[in-house]
């Protein structure tokens, strides 16, 4: 039952959001049906009794997809109807709701208006209120009746769209339904256990889970990259739909200052999703795999350039301050540049993963000076690296974890506190990695590398101060890492001591020895010190 307060406060755009999500699902399922049809059509040359039986089974699947699509389309139409009818009732009471609010009148759940202050109202005021009640009472009752009728009719129609009612329910004990009801290991489960669980499922169960539980599977370390990619591509479509609906809703209204900021954030995230989609649709310099995506907060994304389950050399790149879903395109570019640098060094096959799997600081002051972001990220990064080991096929890959700026601090905390599962650690333009020297990283010091450009402004954060929360520059002479060469970068003005922000971002030029050296390390070679 819809109450007057429900009707008054409802945002009609929630129905538009719902509509849009169901329409996307309708399209996806319909396309799957057509995929099956096209696949069976190509089997023209396959004849005989087995062919007839096989084709009949596939035609049945096609019909089930198309029937399911029809049901989803029906849900979309019902939500559209709900939006229209309840939205109209909402609009009908808007003027009256403001008027009764002005006079401090009370409206019951069924729309009945009462004046609890009638004893204190005199003369013209009492007359005006009588007029208000006389004017709006029939409007409220009519609108409430329409809203409740629409609610009851649409709810009943939606209830009829069950899998059983539209003939899509699988028989009891069916592998797909059993799988859909299977408990998925929670996030935080050891990736080796996740991998064992995944391998214990039949292909049918895996397919069913990919389709019904994409959000959970896509985020689970220990699920192979191919499967995870498929789950996250579905998730990406959903995230995009939700953000587009938010954007449309915000664009259609008069916005407060906070809503303007929200609209900008939503638009920026959509830009990041566009960049991800472009990379996923482009096969150079290697096929890309979407290993995570999440639009919450600043947004997270993990994208592999190259297949990390089959590549000989696998690197995980952790960007620093300012990393988020909106800016992920630039970080993917850097991963592709490192992939090419490793290929130049002779790596037979490489995957470089852009890992925005943490809530990164979004400004230099004060956030980048705090440890909480690195501490919040360390377990996620540690488990992700364990997952790469668990799902890799054949001989273990040579794994590098490389961080830029605050990303290097994340690596330092993960190595120090969790024991990072990798072969090489690389720190680029680092503000410090949470330890006083390489020995504190719980990692073979022979395999720790660092570089900093002469003009990188990060030098200004690496002052010799025992209270420096991130510790000394890992490219400093006392730290104990192997320091590799980098171009000096663009010089800054005298009043910054010659340091510049530009030099903090120039490590990924194809002509910069820093990039060449990163490629060598990823390929398992020794970089040049000069």
């Amino acid at each position: 039952m819809v109450s007057f307060a429900d009707l008054r406060d409802i945002d009609p755009y929630v129905f538009r959001q719902g509509e849009s999500a169901w329409f996307d699902m309708y399209n996806t399922i319909k396309e799957r049906g057509y995929d099956v049809r096209r696949a069976v059509d190509k089997l023209e040359a396959w004849t005989g009794a087995a062919a007839d039986a096989g084709k009949a089974t596939f035609r049945e699947h096609e019909q089930r997809f198309l029937a399911g699509a029809d049901a989803l389309h029906a849900a979309y139409l019902l939500l559209r109807q709900a939006g229209d009818r309840i939205g109209a009732a909402h609009a009908r009471i808007a003027e009256g709701a403001a008027e009764v609010g002005y006079w401090s009148l009370t409206v019951a759940a069924d729309g009945t208006i009462t004046d609890h202050h009638s004893r204190t109202r005199y003369g013209d005021e009492a007359a005006q209120i009588r007029d208000v009640i006389a004017k709006y009472q029939p409007v409220f009752h009519a609108a409430m009746a329409e809203a409740n009728q629409a609610d009851a009719e649409i709810a009943a129609a939606l209830r009829n769209l069950t899998a059983e009612a539209v003939g899509l329910a699988a028989p009891g004990g069916d592998a797909t339904t059993t799988a859909a009801a299977t408990a998925i290991p929670p996030r935080g489960t050891a990736p080796t256990d996740v991998k064992k669980w995944w391998d214990s499922l039949s292909p049918m169960q895996q397919e069913s889970l990919l389709f019904t539980r994409a959000a959970e599977l896509g985020a689970l370390d220990g699920v192979p990259a191919l499967a995870r990619d498929r789950a996250n591509r579905l998730r990406l479509t959903e995230e995009k739909s939700e953000l587009l609906a938010d954007q449309q809703r915000l664009l259609a209204k008069h916005r407060t200052h906070d809503e303007e900021l929200w609209l900008k954030q939503v638009t920026d995230k959509l830009h990041g999703i566009d960049d991800i989609e472009k990379r996923l649709n482009f096969m150079a310099p290697a096929e890309a795999f979407l290993l995570a995506v999440d639009g919450q907060g600043n947004g997270r994304a993990i994208i592999a350039s190259g297949n990390p389950d089959t590549a000989t050399n696998v690197a995980t790149y952790i960007p620093g301050t300012g990393a988020n879903l909106a800016n992920v395109g630039g970080d993917i570019n850097r991963s592709d540049l490192m992939l090419q640098a490793a290929a130049n060094a002779g790596s037979p096959s490489t995957a470089v993963i852009t890992w925005v799997g943490y809530e990164a600081p979004q400004n230099v002051v004060p956030e980048a000076a705090e440890e909480q972001f690195a501490d919040g990220a360390k377990k996620n990064l540690d488990r992700f690296q364990d997952g790469l080991r668990a799902t890799h096929e054949g001989a273990p890959s040579h794994n590098t974890v490389l961080g830029h700026s605050y990303g290097s601090t994340v690596i330092g905390h993960a190595a120090r506190d969790e024991g990072l599962n990798a072969d090489e650690l690389v720190f680029v333009g680092s503000p410090g990695v949470g330890v006083g020297n390489a020995g504190g990283l719980n990692f073979p010091t022979d395999h720790i590398y660092a570089t900093v450009a002469d003009h990188d402004i990060i030098h200004m954060s690496n002052i010799e101060d025992p209270h420096d929360v991130h510790g000394p520059d890992p490219a400093g002479t006392q730290f104990g890492a192997h320091v590799f060469a980098s171009a000096p970068g663009t010089a800054g003005p005298w009043y910054t001591g010659g340091y510049s922000g530009a030099a903090h971002s120039q490590y990924w030029g194809t002509t910069n020895p820093a990039l060449e050296n990163m490629g060598k390390i990823i390929a398992g070679q020794v970089p040049d010190a000069h």
Partner: protein
């Protein structure tokens, strides 16, 4: 903020610089373009104006006879320094890493070899506005 060349012009100029050099290589050197990309110029935190990009490209040069590598580097150094580029690293005869920058437009080029002896030519444009005009 000043106008720049566009990113399309930057791509073309990087390609032209690479081609002018590659055409000087004697047979049997066989260049193959292996990478081409436009990248964001800056971190969100670098303090510079956001929105600029730079063009990069990489050629791998196959079939360079092992005994000729030094000659190729010598020729590259001579060609570049006579065509408005200056050497930016401490390259000396025998080194396998030569880096130069154009004195007029700041395009950078690098000629290197990897551990297996494969020769690599890389080019980067400076940071430019995608359409040549600062983002308003």
């Amino acid at each position: 903020m000043q106008n720049t060349i566009t990113i399309s012009q930057a791509e073309q100029r990087a390609e032209d610089y690479a081609q002018w050099f590659l055409e000087t290589l004697p047979a049997p050197a066989r260049p193959e373009m292996t990478f081409r990309q436009n990248s964001d110029c800056a971190d969100p935190t670098d303090g510079g104006p956001p929105g600029r990009v730079f063009a990069s490209l990489v050629y791998q040069v196959h079939d360079v006879p092992a005994g000729e590598v030094d000659n190729y580097f010598q020729a590259a150094q001579q060609w570049w320094t006579s065509h408005e580029f200056r050497v930016t690293n401490n390259w000396r005869s025998g080194d396998r890493s030569l880096r130069v920058e154009n004195t007029k437009d700041s395009f950078r080029m690098a000629l290197t070899t990897n551990d297996a002896g494969l020769m690599i030519l890389a080019a980067d444009s400076p940071c430019v506005w995608p359409n040549g005009r600062p983002r308003g």
